[in-house]
């Protein structure tokens, strides 16, 4: 209770309340996340349950159109699947991949940045040149490369099973230099501060100093990058899936839905592609705006 009260009283919450855009984005993001997480409870249909699908229900327009059916609020696709339900289940996959990819790149990037910044010298030089080299390639290219290698190297039935992890790895590995550079920069500042010297005089081990003293003090900007990185990861996943290189067909994400809908865009069934697209935009935009707010709110110079 005390923690909640303190949070409601904090500067951060005050700046949050003062910005209507941020409040709206938070609400939209919350709706997206709840809709995705609670899809099995909230979705009107189960798009994966083949027994409930009926081809007679295929290509139903949204409920408000002339031939619409209230049972399919955003229409249905070529198999008779409910588009709204498919979006909710698809957002689950998109968010799962996004979160895990960000978490992965955060762990890799923060570790590398902390080590490079704290150790300095040759370690710093080598690690940061690797990051620089990777930054010269567009991240989607790296993700495609990793995905391609996994496809070629793994037998297809194995690949099918691990496809989700391959995508998470591919997107995660393409985003770590961002974290590494930021953390390295902050670490360079912190490691010469006197509280670190005090710990060294006591004789605390270097690893412990890194983890207990330096790490908590460099995590502020990481939170901002992670939030902005989440929307990037969701976009990357959608791009990969749209190109057919992402998650497997059995677990369609928003990108997969857009690709499928793309085939019907010119034959008049626009809702199959447009609604997943709107869902994707809403999700990414709200997360991005939240990230922007967080960046400004945590920047002491803008207060």
């Amino acid at each position: 209770m005390a923690a909640v009260a303190r949070m409601l009283d904090s500067d951060l919450f005050w700046s949050f309340r003062r910005s209507p855009v941020t409040v709206i984005s938070a609400v939209v993001a919350l709706i997206c996340i709840l809709g995705a997480v609670l899809a099995p409870l909230l979705a009107p249909h189960d798009p994966f349950d083949v027994a409930t699908l009926n081809l007679i229900d295929a290509f139903k327009p949204p409920a408000w159109a002339a031939e619409g059916d209230a049972a399919y609020p955003l229409g249905s696709d070529d198999q008779g699947r409910d588009v709204l339900s498919a979006i909710m289940y698809g957002a689950r996959v998109s968010l799962l991949v996004g979160f895990c990819a960000v978490l992965f790149s955060m762990v890799v990037g923060v570790s590398v940045g902390l080590l490079a910044g704290y150790a300095g010298g040759v370690v710093d030089g080598v690690l940061m040149r690797v990051a620089d080299i990777q930054l010269t390639f567009p991240s989607i290219l790296i993700a495609l490369l990793v995905d391609g290698i996994a496809r070629a190297a793994l037998p297809s039935e194995v690949h099918e099973r691990v496809a989700l992890f391959v995508v998470i790895f591919a997107i995660g590995i393409s985003a770590w230099p961002q974290f590494a550079r930021t953390v390295r920069g902050s670490t360079l500042v912190e490691r010469n501060k006197e509280y670190v010297l005090a710990a060294r005089v006591i004789g605390i081990s270097q690893l412990r100093i890194m983890l207990t003293h330096v790490l908590p003090n460099v995590l502020g900007p990481v939170l901002v990058i992670a939030t902005l990185g989440l929307s990037n990861a969701i976009i990357s996943e959608a791009t990969l899936s749209y190109l057919g290189a992402g998650v497997p067909q059995t677990q369609p994400s928003l990108g997969t839905l857009i690709r499928i809908g793309n085939d019907f865009l010119f034959s008049g069934e626009w809702w199959i592609a447009i609604f997943p697209g709107i869902a994707l935009i809403a999700m990414v935009l709200s997360v991005n705006l939240l990230g922007d707010w967080l960046r400004d709110a945590l920047n002491p110079r803008l207060r």
Binding site: K193, E194, Y195, L197, A198, A199, R200, V201, I202, G203, I204, H213, P216, N217
Partner: protein
């Protein structure tokens, strides 16, 4: 003094490589550059006393402080702690526990994410001194009381305290491992004058009560006079004079020390003509030959430019060491007769 000093420093030097990156160096056709932050200094600190090092910014006094606690390895010479080479002493937790450091900036020396009780307890935990959470808590409360804070302050974060209070927390942390030897790197220079006095009194009290030995680094002569038993004056990484505190203030011998004394603002000397020291401190990257002070010294001669003076007992004095050819040869006009008191009347 039959007892061995707690700390001895012999011909200690620390050089820093300040060369530009290799490629730029090759393109510009220049060699490596070293900064001689500390260049061969020796002193000893007897148990229970305070030695202060004073000097201008960049004279290497903070580097000495860091060398003495082992934050930097020496480039030359050695530090002996309790008769044991520092590197060996630092490898033994029981010896390491006995030396602690207080830092200059009270805003940077406490981890902003830690509660005060954890900051103060860190050495206790690191050395496994007080097992059990309750006993640790009691020890932290005792330490906070000892430095004039409330035991309840342990729950707070550093940003909830003023600079002087933070410095008290720093002192509590340093004391928590029951040290014998404290290195204080300008502990009061970031504080208001009134708070400076409080902290200095606290440090003197603790010294009297716990028998601490201090190496005190400062650029403030008034502060140094209040706390020191002996004072070393540094210039460009070298000790130019080392004398008991009162001796140094009443009869400074080295021309640089005299210039420093001249520069102390004093109400009684208002309006008196001061003799400024000409020129700037030379760069420690390319220090002058011979005596480092010779480009600015009023008593300079050819020997000063060629030969580096050794720190030897000053001529015509019972105590004190001076590194100056002019003093050695008697070119400095002998022992100054308590100049500051004698001149007041003529000034007014």
């Amino acid at each position: 003094m039959a007892e061995t000093p707690i700390l001895e420093v012999e011909d200690l030097a620390r050089y820093f490589d300040v060369s530009r990156p290799w490629l730029q160096r090759v393109l510009a056709g220049e060699g490596k550059r070293t900064l001689r932050a500390v260049d061969g200094i020796s002193f000893a600190i007897p148990r229970g006393t305070t030695l202060s090092l004073v000097g201008e910014s960049g004279c290497g006094k903070s580097t000495v402080a860091r060398l003495v606690v082992g934050l930097y390895p020496p480039s030359k010479g050695r530090v002996v702690f309790e008769g044991m080479d520092l590197e060996r002493a630092r490898a033994i937790a029981e010896q390491r526990r006995r030396m602690q450091m207080i830092f200059q900036d009270p805003y940077a020396s406490l981890n902003p994410r830690w509660r005060v009780k954890d900051i103060v307890a860190e050495p206790i935990r690191a050395f496994g001194m007080t097992p059990g959470a309750a006993a640790q808590q009691a020890k932290v409360a005792e330490l906070l009381t000892q430095v004039g804070l409330s035991p309840l302050d342990g729950e707070k974060f550093p940003h909830e305290f003023s600079g002087g209070q933070r410095q008290r927390i720093s002192i509590a942390r340093a004391l928590s491992s029951n040290p014998d030897f404290l290195v204080c790197d300008e502990p009061t220079s970031a504080l208001d004058v009134s708070v400076q006095a409080q902290i200095l009194n606290l440090m003197k009290d603790l010294q009297a009560r716990l028998g601490l030995t201090y190496l005190f680094i400062s650029h403030n002569l008034a502060v140094v006079r209040q706390v020191s038993d002996r004072i070393g004056v540094m210039y460009l990484g070298r000790l130019v004079e080392l004398a008991p505190a009162e001796t140094l203030f009443t009869t400074p011998r080295h021309p640089y020390t005299r210039a420093l004394m001249e520069a102390i603002p004093d109400l009684e000397m208002t309006g008196r003509q001061r003799i400024p020291v000409g020129g700037e401190v030379p760069s420690p990257i390319s220090p002058p030959s011979g005596c480092p002070f010779h480009p600015r010294c009023p008593l300079v001669n050819d020997r000063c430019k060629a030969e580096r003076p050794a720190l030897i007992p000053a001529r015509a004095m019972k105590q004190g060491l001076t590194a100056c050819h002019a003093v050695e040869e008697g070119r400095d006009g002998g022992v100054p007769a308590a100049q500051r008191i004698g001149t007041t009347a003529t000034a007014l």
